[in-house]
Structure formats: structure tokens, C-alpha cells
């Protein structure tokens, strides 16, 4: 069983929940708890704090990149050029209209739904 401890590695109903708690809840709430217990003792300007912020950002951007460049499921049915175009349109509009996230999301979805409409029609 130590062979494959992945999300679908153990075929038991409880396993996904154990996985979520051990790999999701525990490593997240531990920081919240440490934050409460150590408040007033941590310097957020220290290099360690600064580098942990950039690593956290890069981790999430890598996940974003995976969704855009190497998606699975029905995201993969959307051609790469449409995914990249939607991402670029979303970010471009977000910057263009004074950093409004909802406008960026709307622009990206417009590109995707535009492609869906086009492919149904063509």
C-alpha cells in the first residue's frame, strides 16, 4: 500500500477524505495556527518571509500554467490557441480597465464561449 498513496491510490470511500485532510487541511491550517500562536514574533520583511511569498505565488502560477498548457478533461477539448487567447484576453482586459477581475473573467469567458458558438456553427 505504500506503493501508490495517491488520491485514487486506495479504493475505499474514506480515502479521498483522508487524503484531503492529510494533504490539504493539515498543511494549510498549521500555518493559520502558527500565525495565531506566534503573532508579534515574526518579521514579515525578513528574506525568509519574502522568499516564501514568491514561492507560494510561483506554485499557484505553475498550477495556472498546467490548466492552460497541459489540461485534462473537457478543458483539453478547448484548443490550446483558444485557451492561451482567453487567458491573454482576460489579463489584458483586467489591466486595461483598471484592474477589475470580473471584467477580466468576462473577457476570457467571452473568448471561450465565442469559440464554442463558432465551432457549433461551423
Amino acid at each position: 500500500m505504500s506503493e501508490d498513496l495517491s488520491y485514487y491510490g486506495i479504493a475505499a470511500d474514506w480515502w479521498p477524505f483522508a487524503f484531503i485532510l492529510l494533504a490539504g487541511w493539515l498543511p494549510t491550517d498549521i500555518w493559520r495556527t502558527l500565525g495565531v500562536l506566534s503573532s508579534g514574533k515574526l518579521d514579515e520583511h525578513s528574506p525568509v518571509a519574502a522568499i516564501s511569498r514568491t514561492v507560494a505565488t510561483a506554485l499557484v502560477s505553475a498550477v495556472i500554467g498546467q490548466l492552460v498548457f497541459y489540461p485534462t478533461g473537457s478543458l483539453a477539448d478547448i484548443p490550446a490557441i483558444v485557451r492561451i487567447g482567453a487567458m491573454a484576453a482576460g489579463f489584458g482586459v483586467y489591466l486595461g480597465v483598471g484592474r477589475r477581475i470580473l471584467a477580466g473573467i468576462a473577457a476570457a469567458e467571452l473568448v471561450i464561449f465565442g469559440w464554442i458558438a463558432f465551432s457549433l456553427w461551423a
Binding site: 498513496l5 495517491s6 488520491y7 485514487y8 479521498p16 477524505f17 487524503f19 484531503i20 494533504a23 490539504g24 493539515l26 498543511p27 494549510t28 498549521i30 500555518w31 493559520r32 495556527t33 502558527l34 500565525g35 495565531v36 500562536l37 503573532s39 515574526l42 514579515e44 518571509a49 522568499i51 511569498r53 514568491t54 514561492v55 507560494a56 505565488t57 510561483a58 506554485l59 499557484v60 502560477s61 505553475a62 498550477v63 495556472i64 500554467g65 498546467q66 490548466l67 492552460v68 498548457f69 485534462t72 473537457s74 478543458l75 477539448d77 478547448i78 482567453a86 487567458m87 482576460g90 483586467y94 484592474r99 477581475i101 470580473l102 477580466g104 476570457a108 469567458e109 471561450i112 464554442i116
Partner: protein, 244 residues
């Protein structure tokens, strides 16, 4: 009503004041992000109960998308936990910064530990902006009025949206799942305090194809560590130049 009346009614008043924040644009933006999470979880083959459970227990979107990504990639428990650990580090300085604002004269530590679970970007920004206008004795109540219902509502939203998607064509669920990357790219860009944070947004993505080829199964972790460290040093060099 604000200053007189029995203490329990004043508590209710401040709880309701906090809950009013649920009708503001940041809350709506978060709802749209969780619509994306519902789509993403469904794509990954999770059940709606798992998706809702994850939302309530983790309550941190980056950690959730890493976990969903890991389920698809077949990443091991330890590697997933490590990636989530790294992605959630940011919560510690956020909680540290929030505590002096939140703590009242008679606030007990267990109360703060409970409330800390509901600290994520949206609730944190809301609290840091508005707590100064709330009497100290009612700040935990005010924060609870916003943050706890926000988590509960999003958990319900994930469950409902997930099940509604059964009736949607596959392409439409793909389009909804695409909400997540756009939301994150824009919100991380907007909330980056330093230049290095914005560089990390691009470097993490740029390193991904290399990590994908060299370390399949660990690409997120590798791209995060290399991209993040690179962004930190690039940011330092750039800011050093500006100072000179």
C-alpha cells in the same frame, strides 16, 4: 442601537454588519472563483461531497487547486502535502498581521484559533480594511459575521453548482473550469506587494514546461521552488538597481 441596548444585541448588530460584506464585489468575485473550483473538481473526477468537504476544511483556493491537480496527476500524498504546505505559507504572515487588529481586551486564544481557519485572501483584505472602524470588543464578532458565512455559502455553492453541471454540455463545464486560472492570474497580479511577486507569476509559468519534461509528477513543486527562488533574486537585483 450601536452604543446602548443589552450586550448580546450589540453583538448581533456587529455580526450583521460583518455579514453585509457578503453583498460586496470581493465576495461576488470569490463566488465566481468557487464556481470554477466546482467545475475543476468535477473535471478531475471528484464527487460533489469531496469538492464541498475540501472547500470547508481547506478554505484556501491555491491549496485546493493544487490538491485537485495532484489527484489528476496521481501525485503521492507526501509530495502533495509538501506542495500545499509551501502554497499555504503565506497564510501565516497574513494571520500574524491580522491578530493585533482582531484581538480585543477579553479575546481568548481558542476564539482566535477558531476564527483563523476562516482567514484567506478575501476575508483578510475585508478585515484589514474595515476592522479599524469597529469597536475592539466586537471585532471578532464582526469578522465572524463576514468570514464564517462566506465559507459556508461557498461550500453550499460548490455542492449546488457541481450538481447543476450534470445538465451542462462538456464544453460549458470546461468554460466554467477556466474561471479559475483567469481569476488567479489577475488576483495574484493585483495583490502582489512587491515586484518579485509579479515576476514569480510569470517565472512559475515559464519554468513549468521544463519541469514538466524533467520531473513528471513533481512539476508543480519544481516549478514553484525554482520559479519562486528565481523571482526573489530577480526582484532583489531589480530593486537594488533602482536604489542606486
Amino acid at each position: 442601537m450601536r452604543t446602548d441596548g443589552p450586550p448580546d444585541r450589540r453583538g448581533l448588530y456587529w455580526f450583521a454588519q460583518g455579514a453585509k460584506g457578503l453583498m460586496t464585489p470581493p465576495a461576488f468575485i470569490l463566488f465566481s472563483a468557487f464556481v470554477g473550483i466546482a467545475g475543476l473538481s468535477r473535471e478531475a473526477g471528484l464527487t460533489w461531497i469531496e469538492a464541498a468537504f475540501m472547500t470547508a476544511t481547506i478554505w484556501a483556493l491555491p491549496a485546493q487547486i493544487i490538491l485537485v491537480g495532484a489527484s489528476v496527476a496521481g501525485t503521492s500524498l507526501l509530495a502533495t502535502a509538501f506542495a500545499v504546505l509551501l502554497s499555504s505559507v503565506r497564510l501565516m504572515p497574513m494571520v500574524v498581521a491580522l491578530m493585533p487588529e482582531l484581538r480585543g481586551p477579553r479575546t481568548r486564544t481558542p476564539t482566535l484559533l477558531f476564527l483563523s481557519h476562516f482567514v484567506a485572501i478575501t476575508g483578510w483584505v475585508f478585515a484589514m480594511e474595515r476592522l479599524t472602524d469597529v469597536p475592539r470588543a466586537y471585532r471578532t464578532t464582526y469578522f465572524a459575521g463576514f468570514a464564517v458565512p462566506l465559507t459556508v455559502l461557498n461550500t453550499i455553492l460548490v455542492a449546488v453548482v457541481f450538481n447543476l453541471m450534470d445538465n451542462l454540455p462538456a464544453l460549458a463545464t470546461g468554460a466554467l473550469a477556466f474561471l479559475t486560472p483567469v481569476y488567479f492570474f489577475c488576483s495574484l497580479y493585483g495583490s502582489a506587494r512587491e515586484l518579485s511577486g509579479r515576476i514569480a507569476l510569470f517565472s512559475g509559468m515559464a519554468v513549468l514546461p521544463i519541469a514538466h519534461a524533467l520531473a513528471p509528477g513533481f512539476e508543480i513543486l519544481v516549478a514553484g521552488l525554482l520559479g519562486g527562488a528565481g523571482a526573489y533574486f530577480a526582484g532583489r537585483i531589480a530593486e537594488g538597481r533602482r536604489l542606486r
